[in-house]
Amino acid sequence: MKRRFKQFVTLIGMVVTFGGILVWQAYGADRVYLDITDPSFRKLPIAVPGFRVDGGSSGIGDDLLSTTKKDLQISGIFQVLDSRAFFSDPQKLGVTAAEIDFGQFKQVGAEYLIRGSYSTDGQNIHLELRFFDVVGRKMLLGKAYDGKIQDRKLMIHRFVDEILKLITGEVGVFSTKIAFVNKEGKNSRIYMVDFDGSNPTLLTPREELAMSPSWSSDGRFIAYIGFRGNRTALSILDVSSRAVRDCFLGGVISSARFNPQKDLIAAAISRPDGNPEIVGVDLAGNVTGRLVSGGWNTKTSPSWSPDGRKIAYVSNETGSPQIYVYDVSTGSKRRITFSGDYNTSPSWSPKGDWIAYSGLVEGHHHIFIVNSETLSVMQITNGSYNNEAPTWSPDGRMIAFQSNRSGRNAIWVMLRNGADARLLTEMPGDQILPSWSPRFQ
């Protein structure tokens, strides 16, 4: 452990005074990050004792603690130790490296420790979070947050994001959101939730039937299919104002996806006088050009490569739905799924290396990932229920998908290797067609 720790980071704790708020920043040199995708990766045991109250109301301490633990668990990197193992009273337990008895935490198997303390004043909270290396007996990251009590979860999400950056070299996705369709009664409307399933928010209260939400690269817009009487619109929702623009493209629209680089939408459309095709549409609703065309067969579910140069999509040109990759710049086309006769819902990973999709196996849809170059395939869900419509977290470590494993359709999140599946949406109705937002700036 000591050796690995030395490899991973050399840190100098610094105390910086910033606008009256103490901010501790850790700087590293010659940092070697943990490869958490390595199959031999072992989760890091971490202790999270109760938060210390330094003044004001103590009523939110449990929520702060459970939010922190949930974030750490969801990260897939940490194994959160049972807090019954720490016998000390959190009020008496120190919060700085000088005060903490690291031996006590080492004894229960902890390699890392988070100490939190807070005080409240009316609607405001002052929250201090410190992340320690138990073995090295030092602080790796310390932050103080001042704000409204109602934003406390956001503060913790940001802190855990930074812990992940420290350990993996990449900011976590704890401040992202997941949009999806909720089918309840006669209505199918678009909602979003935080990455941990909290704060479900109805985005399209006036829709009766909306399908296929897709976030724009900056998180400002969600494109979706809006049903307007006997026609479909490519609808563009401004997430902050909730304004909607409907773009009628003169045909039936079956899916839409934002380009990850710019404000351009790939929309699958079929007009009466033509064949199904995938076209580019700008934010004003103008068709900028054909992206994929040719043949009577269906073409749908376009998913852009991260550089925006290629599109993975579904076509049934061989008689069954299969996934193809079309290179927009060269015009070349390549089939990438060869086993099974029902492969749909491609989703290109943000790193570009994998394309997730759902394939029908013995009567049930399951999530697969296929390497976009070598075409090697891995099935990452199993069981006698359906798993469909995968979408990647912005760091490429997790996949959200719809599954009926709980008896109804709901959105679930798992690690890329299929481990640690957790229910994201605990709300009435059926939740389908998730889309994971980018990180918000």
């Binding site: 089918k183 199918s188 209260p205 006036r206 039937l209 399908m211 296929s212 299919i225 809006g226 049903f227 307007r228 009487g229 006997n230 026609r231 479909t232 619109a233 609808s235 401004d238 104002s241 909730r242 304004a243 909607v244 623009r245 409907d246 773009c247 009628f248 493209l249 003169g250 039936v252 079956s254 899916s255 699958a268 079929s270 009466p272 006088d273 199904p276 004003a284 609703g285 103008n286 068709v287 269906t298 073409k299 749908t300 579910s301 579904v314 049934n316 069954s320 739905p321 029902y342 749909t344 819902s345 759902s358 849809h365 469909e388 419509a389 389908i432 067609l433």
Partner: protein, 196 residues
């Protein structure tokens, strides 16, 4: 008096024709609401130059509308309503993951074509539907192909393309709720709705 009556009929027909033409106009492309976005919920209303499709001219059948279809007697009215009901109640069905018009669908489509020819001012929406076994988004595309197959078949039988609007509901609007082949078979359908 007699001349007056004819005038009403002619004016009514012109009105209905104009209405049908405006309905079948190609939807306007490009920006619909100018630069920027309108307020919350904007865009749900009537886009300029396009139809809403919601309950236009649907609902209570007025005598003017019937006369515009050439229906003047109670007997003709009864016959029309019976055929209309049959037209809307009789779906055509498809095999799993297929948009090919089956043999059993052909006589039904032929009957629909005859009805549309008999009442040439009627317009129709063809809805494509799927069973629940496919994936939701792919089913939207498949449902469109089913609606399109029916559309193409009716065009080949001589129905003007601009009288027929298409839409797909994928697996989102099933008529049979079961999770068995009998229900799935009912849900793999094209459904026809009359507008006049």
């Amino acid at each position: 008096m007699r001349a007056d009556k004819w005038l009403v009929v002619i004016v009514g027909m012109v009105f209905v024709c104009g209405f049908v033409i405006s309905c079948s106009k190609k939807p306007v492309q490009g920006p619909l609401m100018g630069p920027g976005f309108a307020g919350p919920g904007a865009g749900y209303g009537t886009p300029p130059g396009t139809e809403t499709g919601a309950d236009i001219g649907f609902g209570v059948i007025t005598d003017e509308k019937l006369r515009a279809l050439g229906i003047t007697t109670e007997e003709q009215k009864r016959e029309f309503l019976k055929q209309k009901e049959e037209f809307e109640n009789e779906d055509i069905h498809f095999d799993f993951d297929s948009a090919v018009i089956r043999e059993d669908a052909k006589p039904i489509l032929l009957k629909k074509a005859e009805f549309l020819k008999k009442y040439p001012t009627l317009t129709v929406t063809i809805e494509g539907h799927c069973d629940e076994r496919g994936t939701n988004e792919y089913n939207l595309a498949l449902g469109e192909r089913r609606a399109h197959s029916a559309w193409q078949y009716l065009v080949n039988l001589g129905i003007a393309p601009n009288r027929m609007q298409m839409i797909s509901y994928g697996e989102e609007r099933p008529i049979a709720a079961g999770h068995d082949e009998a229900s799935w078979a009912k849900n793999r359908r094209a459904h026809f709705v009359i507008h006049f």
